[in-house]
């Protein structure tokens, strides 16, 4: 829908402009390099983006498939599930069900962008603007990435993880390692710290920690192994006190299940704990990406759109290249209506890009309505600065709450469909009108919130005097209970890691049911 409003100032042919950087579809290193310089000029000098150095890697489609299956990372430890996704992707690709991405970008320093050899020169230009500057700026500046990930260390850490797991396989057997990884993967979503600062990943420290673990493990006092007779002599009150102290010592309740198991499981070997740690470190690394998907893509699309237009305005790319770009761009940011057969939820590229463009519009060309809704920045004529602040300080949820304008809601013709499973009908409870704006805005934000992305599951108790059973508590939000089938499949994995009984309890004000596995 944005394809029609492309550019306002066609390059005047009478003005002398340098010849375009490239013509035709073929690319070579010189052209790519020249293009990069031109893009960089616009991105850094004009837009003032702040990016990591870039490393562009040219890969084939086969290598792109490989990269897919290792969750986009350049290195990954081995596990059958990656083979499974490889086979699935390969199959889909060969049958033409799905195309391949044009690039993959990795949040690392230097920022690695994979681009495919099949891309035309126009695509390479677009991809560089999109990934090497758009995503790169977002990775380096967004507060979530700053807080939770360490771009300097990730490549070293991946190398460490790969080697470590390979070494474990050598020593303890592929089957044993696979079991632990299977179980850890089942708890990946529950292996994320949400509220505390992550420690930096440091390979040297990792080795050190492993050594220390080996040394002190034996001598370390574990309350879980306390023998019963000693306890019997104490009276109940005292036991209660001890238990409370213990619960505190174990840090309950704990929402990071993998962390809890790594630190406190009575049955795991040291290497198994380290594997849990690797899996949860990876989950943690991806955590910010899940929370900023829409903004991240919006930022990258805005940046590539801006840069491509500037390149065209200054005569550095041809009309043909511009047309190719617009064709591609408008397909990427297309948003099918809810009743369209291709509708698959809200397209993060579409919403992200539209919101960024909308902020630009409000900054430069506000209506009275915009002034009323966004007094802080409406008409300040500093679109890029305003956007950069947004990219830095928000995530999808808060970004929508802060910046989704009535204008955009009307453009998208958004409405909220309330689906209460206990009623025989869906209810349209808000549409894009004056009464509905705030409701839609908060409903859409809630869709991107942590609460709706992740279930609230915590370790709340371990029975230290009896059977060492672990109790997990699921706090029900909006009446959504756990999928029983999945629970029955996941519980055995937790039991493998914990060594004793595990049960899940779901808590809601009016329902209190316990599911014992």
């Amino acid at each position: 829908m944005t394809a029609s409003r492309t550019r306002k100032n066609p390059p005047s042919s009478d003005k002398k402009s340098p010849p375009p950087i490239f013509e035709g579809a073929e690319w070579d290193y010189e052209k790519v390099d020249n293009c990069f310089q031109a893009i960089q000029k616009i991105a850094i000098d004009e837009m003032g983006l702040n990016v990591y150095p870039t490393q562009i890697e040219i890969i084939t489609s086969e290598q792109m498939l490989d990269a897919y299956s290792s969750v986009g990372m350049p290195l990954m430890y081995n596990h059958w599930s990656f083979g499974k996704s490889f086979l699935r992707d390969e199959s889909n690709y060969q049958k033409g069900f799905s195309g391949l991405a044009y690039e993959i970008v990795i949040n690392s320093n230097p920022c690695i962008c994979y681009i495919m050899e099949e891309n035309s020169m126009t695509m390479q230009t677009l991809v560089m603007a999109h990934a090497a500057f758009g995503h790169n700026h977002f990775f380096k500046n967004n507060h979530l990435f700053k807080q939770w990930t360490d771009a300097n260390a990730i490549l070293d850490y991946l190398q460490f993880a790969k080697n470590y797991i390979a070494k474990c396989e050598e020593r303890y057997g592929q089957k044993e390692v696979e079991k632990i990884l299977d179980s850890a993967h089942a708890l990946r979503d529950q292996g994320v710290d949400k509220f505390t600062r992550r420690q930096k990943l440091d390979v040297a420290a990792l080795r050190q920690r492993e050594l220390e673990r080996n040394e002190y493990e034996q001598s370390q006092y574990s309350e879980l192994w306390r023998t019963l007779p000693e306890m019997a002599s104490r009276d109940d009150e005292e036991i209660d006190l001890i238990e409370k102290a213990l619960v505190q010592k174990l840090g309950l309740p704990e929402s990071n299940l993998l962390y809890f198991l790594e630190k406190h499981s009575p049955v795991l070997e040291n290497w198994q704990r380290e594997i849990l740690r690797i899996v949860r470190s990876m989950a943690q690394y991806f955590y910010p990406q899940r929370q900023t998907k829409m903004m991240n893509e919006g930022c990258a699309c805005f940046v590539h759109y801006h840069i491509m237009n500037r390149l065209f305005d200054t005569g550095q790319i041809t009309e043909g290249a511009m047309l190719e770009f617009i064709d591609f761009h408008s397909r990427v940011i297309a948003q099918p209506d809810f009743d369209n057969q291709y509708y698959a939820g809200i397209n993060p590229y579409a919403l992200g890009f539209a919101m960024m463009k909308d902020i630009e519009r409000i900054c430069e060309n506000p209506t009275d309505e915009d002034r009323e809704w966004f007094p802080d920045f409406a008409g300040n004529n500093q679109a890029i600065k305003t956007l950069k602040e947004a990219w830095e300080n928000f995530r999808d949820e808060s970004f929508i709450l802060q910046y989704l304008s009535p204008h955009l809601m009307r453009d998208f013709r958004l409405f909220n469909l309330n689906d209460d499973k206990s009623r025989p009908f869906y209810l349209v409870d808000a549409i894009h009108n004056k009464q509905g704006y705030t409701a839609i805005r908060s409903a859409l934000a809630a869709q991107y919130s942590v609460a709706s992305l992740d279930l609230d599951i915590q370790v709340t108790n371990v029975d230290l005097h009896g059977n060492r059973a672990m109790i997990l508590t699921h706090n029900i939000t909006n009446g959504v209970t756990l999928d029983e089938k999945q629970v029955n499949l996941v519980i055995p994995h937790i039991q493998r890691l914990w060594g004793y009984d595990v049960s899940v309890k779901s808590i809601e004000p009016n329902i209190d049911k316990t599911h014992f596995a």
Partner: protein, 439 residues
């Protein structure tokens, strides 16, 4: 600020080991799928990989998820046409709702399978697991071995064609450096200095002394250059090759088939599958496999594959003619000392009664001693099998062959009625550690 790295030449198949792990994990399911796949395959189609579908049990990765059929969900959607706040939309009947398919399939029920393509090698590996060629080792040791050259380091002597330039020059350079052989530049420099001095019209004593010193130095260096040669025989290295023995890896497979009127299309189809599998199997074991097709009625001839399977012939049935042709071909082209010989015969069991004894004789006296293995399958169509169940209704040829089986370990016979029977037959024939069936 930017690097471009070309990764295209990096080794492919980074996920090969993950793929292998996946296949190991799904082994039993894959094996079953492979067996089903082979039952419906064409002989012309033995080269490609195979697309198979396996149920997803054991391959599912569970996670805690919310139950999508419970609770209250708000969904903001784009593209409102004419909804007004307060509109109610009747819920469509549960299940079959939207993209429910995925949840249902991954719930561990395994109804919905996982599709992917095995490579040819993976396919065959799984297919031929637990199978080995009979007497392969014994025969290959006994056999005359072939020789092959492989690289084996470097040596000081050798033919000029094997001269290893790189290593030779490296040694030469090291020696020249150690023995301080004067370089060309040093000599030219000296000579220039000398000419420069000589060109001066007047010389001081100091300069004259210097000239003499330079001349002496030049003399010394020139001599040194002669003494320390550029390339010394000591430097020279040759690439070395060594001969290694290789077991004979050539095999010839004889396909013998009765094409008389009594063999219908179904019979031929069954026989074809048997030949196909045997061929696949041999190709896997030997680097070179020749296939010879011999068809017979009351006359036998060697034909190409197309004719073998598709042309029709009429006439009586005399099995021994085919055996004679086979014997002749072995004698002419495939001396048993050089070739591993396999034979597979398919027939419906009809034979001229008086010929059976002759067949027996040919096999015991001439053919079986030369063969690694001789397999006979008798193909019956399903009507026949229903009409004559059990082994008591054996054909004459079968009876004659059965006697051979008792005295020859490298002879096997089986009866086949349906395509599904073929694989187990082959499996039995070539089962690893096959127990001797001789009492």
């Amino acid at each position: 600020m930017m690097h471009i790295i070309d990764r295209r030449l990096n080794p492919k198949g980074k996920s090969l080991s993950n793929r292998q792990r996946f296949i190991d994990r799904a082994k039993t399911q894959i094996k079953k799928a492979v067996n089903e796949a082979i039952a419906n395959r064409k002989i012309s189609n033995t080269d490609g990989g195979e697309r198979i579908k396996i149920p997803s049990d054991g391959l599912y990765e569970p996670r805690f998820t919310g139950d999508s059929d419970k609770g209250i969900h708000d969904r903001v959607m784009p593209g409102n046409k004419d909804f007004m706040p307060g509109d109610k939309i009747k819920r469509p009947p549960s299940k079959g709702q939207g993209q429910g398919g995925r949840d249902a399939s991954e719930g561990g029920e395994g109804e919905d399978g996982f599709h992917f393509t095995l490579t040819r090698d993976e396919f065959l590996d799984i297919f031929f697991e637990n199978m080995a060629l009979p007497d392969f080792i014994k025969k290959s040791i006994k056999e005359e071995v072939t020789h092959e050259y492989t690289r084996a380091g470097y040596k000081r002597q050798g033919s000029p064609s094997n001269l290893n330039l790189k290593l030779t020059m490296r040694n030469s350079l090291a020696r020249r450096l150690c023995l301080r052989r004067p370089r060309d530049e040093e000599i030219t420099e000296l000579e220039e200095k000398i000419t420069a001095l000589r060109q001066q019209k007047k010389h001081t004593i100091k300069e004259q002394n210097k000239l003499i010193a330079l001349l002496e130095e030049l003399e010394v260096k020139k001599r040194r250059r002669k003494v320390v040669p550029y390339i010394d025989p000591l430097d020279v290295r040759y690439t070395s090759f060594t001969e290694i023995e290789k077991p004979n890896t050539h095999a010839v497979m004889f396909c013998l088939m009765d094409v008389s009127g009594s063999m219908g299309e179904t019979h031929k189809e069954l026989a074809k599958r048997f030949f196909m599998l045997l061929h696949l199997f041999l190709v896997r074991q030997y680097t070179k496999v020749d296939v010879i097709f011999i068809r017979h009625t009351h006359l036998a001839s060697e034909v190409d594959e197309e004719t073998f399977f598709h042309s029709r012939e009429t006439g009586g049935t005399i099995v021994s003619t085919a055996l004679e042709v086979m014997q002749k071909i072995i004698k002419d082209r495939y001396p048993p000392e050089d070739w591993n010989i396999y034979a597979a015969q398919a027939s419906d069991g009809d034979n001229l009664n008086s010929d059976n004894a002759h067949c027996q004789h040919l096999l015991t006296q001439n053919i079986l001693p030369m063969c690694q293995y001789f397999a006979y399958v008798e193909v019956w169509d399903s009507h026949e099998a229903e009409m004559f169940p059990g082994d008591n209704n054996a054909t004459r040829l079968w009876q004659a062959y059965e006697e051979l089986k008792l005295s020859h370990q490298n002879f096997a016979l089986k009866k086949v009625t349906r395509p599904e029977d073929i694989f187990p037959v082959l499996h039995d024939l070539f089962a690893k550690n096959k127990k001797s069936e001789v009492a």
